[in-house]
Amino acid sequence: MTSIKRAKLITGILFMTPSLVIYSLYMIIPVPYALYLSFFRWNGISPKILVEISNWGRILVDSVFRKSLLNSIYIGVACIFLQVPLGLFIALLLVAKHLKGKKVFQTVYVIPLLLSAVAVGILWKFYLDPTFGVVNNFLLTVGLPNLRRPWLGDTSTALFAVIVVEVWQFAPLYMLIFGAALSEVPQHLYEAAVIDGASSLECFWHITIPLIRGVYITATTIALVGSIKMFDLVWVMTEGGPSRATELMATYMYKQTFHRLEFGYGATIGVALFGIAFGLGILWLRLMKHSVLSGQKV
């Protein structure tokens, strides 16, 4: 018996160590190390200068950071109220009985999800171009020339344009998530309800919605945390411009660190970003405790 126990122990150590080492080196230790760096002024090369909490004082009064936080919140809210419901809507469309050619629709709908943010960003920069872009030329063709805009170059529309692209790319993710959830709703519930004289709307409201509620909360969290972590798309399309209209916490952190070589302050923004994302995650776990999915194990 002891030899089996020993074999198990050795296997445990052997199998767990590689993951733990790599994961700790690149994901866990960096967080406290970034916190440590946030107490210094440092350009990445010369010796670090201890400035105690002055970076933290600075972030509190930094109007650019506040702006970037606000932009992240806008994107988060837009994702929750546009992306997630749209995803659900398309998923419902794809399970509707009378729609033909579902396979073809679904196949195309998923494509944006597979593309790199860099490719999507460049593609949409062309698509939204003021002169040769498709959107402006479409507006011209349908007789609405006054609506034409330099979408990404105008401070009043840039963030909105970024959100549209974000929806374009990630709505299919929510479509897939909801599609999987909908396919697990037992059909006989609907059949029973129809026999009892329920309309399709009543079926949707009293059967579908309660059964996918947990998935809806999950999807909302993915959207929220995802929008806080957003970087690539905005970096490629606007680099946070024009005049910070699309500045996000991540883009601001990148600029401060690698363009202005303020490693200490960059680390401070990074830790703040971590705090916000993690806080939201914990909040979500609290919510999940009361939801349908809480039956799932850890």
Binding site: L14, V118, T218, T221
Partner: protein, 278 residues
């Protein structure tokens, strides 16, 4: 009865219209891209029009420079090594999480899963410093560690859930027959996990192939760039030549579309997994 038929007809038609509207919203940008890349010069015909004559000269041009090959080779190497390591290490860790009892297991699992909530941006500066310190900055090796670490949490989470649902009787039977824990992992658990592993391979392949931020920070010289970083620098250099940039983007996304064309079911299954982290 007549009214019912009419209503059904209207309903069906509106469904189709909505589906087509979304299809155009999704698909037209891609058509625009493909069409632009096939024009020799972007303004040779109107933006709605097809190219005057389908020209593959842009494709020839970008491959003639040779650097694009390099980006592809780098990306393929990095992604293959990373995805292999992610799946192997995750399956090993998940096996321990589901099959062996040890003190602090729950805590260790929470440590891994909490990685789902860590934004990689807050780790960037330390990772940058660390990569420089160990002397692999600006090589393709700089990216493998971060890619593996960044994708372990989700993969471990999903595989652990999957392995938990496998019947334990098979393990016991094998153990009685004298199979070692490693043997059980290799001969019984791993083969049973094959569908999950295939889907997770797809998912991680997509994530790693498209990754941009780590590459932007940990790699600088043209010889070490990945495909996304290569495309990004390319558009900076050749912004004036729209068709050429579109061609580069097109070539950059093609591998993914080919994978999707052949392995659609597995790709979709993999992407759907991201919704399971509840």
């Amino acid at each position: 009865m007549r009214e019912y038929v009419v209503r059904k007809y209207v309903w069906t038609c509106s469904l189709i219209v909505i589906a087509i509207v979304w299809l155009v919203f999704t698909g037209y940008p891609l058509i625009f891209l493909a069409q632009g890349s096939l024009k020799e010069r972007f303004f040779e015909s109107g933006i709605w029009e097809l190219p005057k004559h389908f020209a593959f000269s842009n494709y020839a041009k970008i491959f003639a420079s040779g650097l694009l090959y390099r980006y592809f080779i780098n990306s393929i190497m990095i992604v293959f090594i990373s995805v292999f390591l992610i799946v192997l290490l995750s399956s090993m860790a998940s096996y321990i999480f589901t099959r062996i009892q040890f003190p602090g297991k729950r805590l260790l699992f929470i440590l891994f899963v909490s990685g789902l909530m860590i934004p990689i941006h807050s780790t960037l500066i330390p990772v940058y410093i660390f990569t420089n310190k160990i002397g692999i900055y600006d090589t393709i090796w700089a990216l493998i560690g971060p890619y593996v670490a960044w994708n372990l949490p989700l993969t471990i989470f999903i595989l652990t859930a999957f392995m938990q649902d496998l019947p334990k009787e098979l393990d016991d039977a094998a153990a009685i027959d004298g199979c070692s824990p490693i043997g059980i992992y290799w001969r019984i658990v791993l083969p049973l996990c094959k569908p999950a592993i295939v889907a997770l391979t797809m998912l991680n392949f997509i994530f790693c192939w498209n990754e941009f931020l780590y590459a932007l920070i940990l790699v600088s010289s043209p010889e070490s760039r990945t495909v996304p970083l290569g495309i990004y620098t390319y558009q900076g250099q050749f912004w004036g030549n729209i068709s050429l940039v579109m061609t580069v983007v097109m070539v950059g996304v093609l591998p993914m579309l080919v994978v999707y064309a052949f392995l659609k079911k597995q790709v979709i299954r993999g992407m759907t997994f991201t919704g399971l982290k509840g």
